[in-house]
Symmetry: D2
Subunit: 355 residues, 4 copies
């Protein structure tokens, strides 16, 4: 029988709510007879022998006073979290949310008391993987949590754009310590950018020239509230992704947060417009609206990263694991560094040795 991944989480936001409820949802489905290899919304039934529901929460850290000291399943349903309450039964996890690192730790050195405390907490909990999913923009926090994981010998998964997995110095130290380090920045399960890129690619392949295009995104969760302030950097990162796919940027505009619309809650809405030039200069026009559950989009990728990290721990891999490449926006050496075959081989190696 499979031993579940012992998971610690830094940040108890919507992503954790989506992850935890989804895990129970699929456990119920499989108990009810669903085929583990054909679960709706799941890319891989098994990674390294681990099913999507083979996850056990063992520790959680946050700085929200309303969450600290609370049972994890209660904390993850508290506002401002607004992921929907799914139709699953939540039994106590036995995990109480602990005080996370705070701004006062920002300028602490790598071996600050706080980090030492955190490393002890991780060890005490027996964590195999620490999932980092705080709000975007806190480089110091990402680094500090990574240091704590390293000190505790726990694999680290970074969901945010902060530089951790692609920080060479840090990466070298994880390798030296024999610990997996997976990052950076979650690729969305199915977001506006990948749809945009697919359609622009299709036009190019068919010889339709791009006249102009735009992409708008709006949502109602904390991420969108935060995006209002740092829209510019997100815009650059989305445009970069399009540029890598060969799109001429002078014809395309991307607005990552066209608006925070509170009643959308954890839904994300994207609008795309593409105007192309076809045979004899005649126009081609595409309008698209995409609506997704934002944190489901994240959880569907997180579940794979967690399993990759845990399987790597169990088979003795260290540092970055190539299987994670397609699941990240900024893997250490970029997307081109591994072929599809190497990615699949990485999955196989996780599975093969565990048997």
């Amino acid at each position: 029988m499979t031993v579940p991944v012992k998971l610690a989480v830094a940040g108890v936001g919507n992503n954790i709510s989506a992850l935890a409820q989804g895990i129970l949802h699929y456990a119920d489905a499989v108990a009810g007879g669903a085929d583990i290899d054909a679960l709706p919304g799941v890319r891989r039934g098994s990674i390294g022998g681990l099913a999507v529901y083979d996850v056990q929460f063992v520790a959680a850290y946050d700085i929200d006073p309303g969450k600290i000291g609370t049972e994890l399943y209660d904390a993850m349903l508290r506002p401002p979290n607004n992921y929907p309450r799914l139709d699953v039964r939540l039994e106590p996890t036995g995990v109480t949310v602990e005080q996370g690192l705070t701004d006062s730790d920002e300028h602490a050195g790598p071996l600050s008391d706080q980090i030492v405390r955190l490393a002890e907490s991780l060890r005490a909990a027996g964590a195999e993987v620490l999932l980092y999913s705080l709000p975007t923009g806190l480089q110091w926090a990402a680094t500090a949590y990574a240091e704590a994981a390293l000190a505790a010998g726990v694999a680290f998964v970074n969901c945010t754009p902060e530089s951790v997995g692609r920080d060479e110095e840090l990466s070298t130290r994880f390798i030296a310590a024999g610990v997996p380090l997976i990052g950076d920045d979650l690729a969305s399960h199915l977001g506006t950018s990948i749809v945009h890129r697919s359609l622009l690619g299709l036009l190019a392949e068919r010889g339709i020239s791009l006249h102009s295009s735009y992409q708008l995104n709006l949502g109602g969760n904390q991420d969108f509230r935060n995006l209002r302030d740092r829209g510019a950097s997100k815009r650059d990162s989305k445009l970069n992704a399009l540029a890598k796919a060969g799109v001429q940027l002078d014809r395309v505009d991307v607005i990552p947060s066209a608006g925070f619309v509170a009643h959308l809650e954890d839904h994300k809405v994207g609008y795309l417009n593409i105007e192309g030039v076809g045979w004899a200069g005649t126009p081609v026009e595409i309008d698209l609206k995409l609506k997704v559950q934002d944190s489901s989009n994240a959880a569907g990728v997180i579940i794979d990263l967690i399993r990759i990290a845990a399987a790597a721990v169990r088979v003795g891999e260290k540092g970055f694991v190539p299987a994670a490449v397609p699941l990240l926006k900024s893997p250490p050496k970029g997307h081109g560094a591994y072929t599809e075959l190497e990615v699949e081989a990485s999955y196989d190696s996780l599975a093969a040795r565990i048997a």
Copy 2:
């Protein structure tokens, strides 16, 4: 200097208007300094050494009394044709539309007087290629025009779903006679089906399960008027294309002609809806509207088929030419019969030997 393709056309509908005006449009553009390898709306600047404007009309056949006996450029602008009049200068082609085959020829044998007359006309015109683009559904006409081309030793391109290129007996006779035969059924340059397939493929790749989907098409040209009556077969053919791409058909519906809306004229509008099931059963919804110039969509593919056929004639290839595979809905042995490399090699062989 390149000798233009000598082209005969059976059927003087919107496709011919789009083709003829487009050829002039690009000739103007290149004369004005445009890069021949980056013309908007064109997939390949050169095929077998032939540019998109290297086409000369030498004969045309139709059964509309309003078109017969008329200068080709006048005929192609007459109603019910409703492709827009582009901003290009139309000088007389010197080609007068001749009487095409009529229903009375339907039960004539392969060597009927009519076919003999047509073969003579093709020979007299010096045609290299006969392009067949009559309304869909006239199998007898497709066969008869192919017989005439064969008798005249002229390459044949079939734009319609009728069985010609994939008719083995006919194909054998074209090969025996050393004449190229390209068909069947034009793949759309950029139509609702390819967009639908791309998006469904993207969802599948991302592990989003399909809950349901539909596709609606409407337009205002003769094709849509005709589709009203034979929507069922078109629906089957579109569903088959999706099935080949691995889509579960019980979740998808396709309505090839949701409506004939006269004021859309030669525009085609497609609506797509896709509902998927993501992580933890949460929904993913996509709505898309696509608007294209229907006959531009055809002409952008026809121009490549004509050049393939003519280049094949000139380099001495016979029967089917693999370069045409991606441009057809029903190539003789299906889409799987040739790899991408073989398709590219076919293009190279057309180009290499002509030099």
Copy 3:
């Protein structure tokens, strides 16, 4: 305390499922403290002293063998009915679906045995109102049920376009017998047509000229399946409605059933496109998608017609009741025959006298 309307229904389709479940839904809501005058989806909290949940089913007729002899609440959930099963508790109504009139009754005279049997059943059930909502197109059935209602002295409500309420001869006989007669043809609660008309009206008011417009409708219930065959007459009726609102028909096209898409079930989807010409000939373009629960759209109007008919019975009004005008597509003397004030006065008279 209010005595509920004793209601008999001819036809146990989606409309009855929507009506019955909705009645329970609102009874629950009000029991839970909701304000009776602010119920979501309800136009008038009270009509003639009757709340939306003051309805008791007393008889039901259908010809589907799977429904006859079955408890009404079971019958209304059977396929091909596909209105969703709402979250309300269905307790047995005590009403068993009886055999309705069949085609063999089509040429029976007004006093056929079948009609006599039906009238007796209505009387035995103590019905106050007979609601007629069979599939569209059965003029003989609409007339025969109306005859039965008249014979039994039961008010009649016709939801379909068949001519009953506007049949002068029949109307005269209902008046003579002192029985209310309400029809014909349900105005949709919120359908594509009213949205289309509103937007076209707005453009006209603003001086934007109409260039062209179209409207498409699709759905997955029996109505849409039937519409495939009689799309033309429905198209005329929708165009007439637009014409009455002053829209130039040469610029507008309406496709009542662009498609039957089974997985839409009882949802109805409408697509609108409007192209206008603004200042200096520059374009104005509107694209709209509307999605509604088709039978909810009907039930939200039916509930008002039933209450109007019952209140009319109780206060002794006969023949047509002006309060029903805005709820019908084809009221006896057209929409212009009564002012808004007269309509409101009619509502008042139903309410005043019952007190």
Copy 4:
């Protein structure tokens, strides 16, 4: 024969380009036989005897060095202006753009040298009306231009939200001087807000409760670039307009500038989403996209305000003219101060006395 309105303009932006080209467009159309009372995009063929093309530019003021000293028709086509160049012939107006008021005038008193100079320029040009359409947000400029108009005895039309027409002190002085004063803030010809309001009103009228709604706007002209900074106040003003129409604001969000998308140029795109609750709690959903030429939207209203102001001058009316109420967002006493009949009577009075 009608004497054209002698018009001076403060600000030579897209609105002036749209106005000037539109005037020529309609003059051509009528010369070509178009019915003056049925011009596409025009609300009223004649106001006070003035046709839409009865306008003569006599003076223009701007502070853009690239426009000052330039022929008006050249200046209005210069960037950042990006209204399209319509297919009309632009002959020199004979008007050279003069230096407008600058920030250094901001703290000048009402009789500053600059204002005196401007008043003289207006008088010398024989202007009847001064149209103020500078970028939003310059209250001092709006006031200063109004002072100049007052000093010169020229009617003033304020297109912006700055307080001029509703400034009681200023208004009293215009009345005392016998000069018309029309403002404030242009109502859009057909914008997202009026469409939003119409649809929300329709839902309310039909008893569909509002669950939630949002409105997004994007564009590519200077107005949208400016909006980025003052989105909040514009949002409030749009929400206020909805509130006045009876919409519950807690369910609606409005994003006036979701994005500046340069390639949209002078087009404005609005996206609306409305989710309602129908019978039995079942959902109603509307999605809408609106695309308009932004400055055409303004010019179609400006042309009426100019004619009202000029007709008022000619018939001796002073201060505010009720005919302008429906064309303004903030008329002096609000929209409720005049009935529709009073508005029409105002139009009549402008027309009657001129005869």
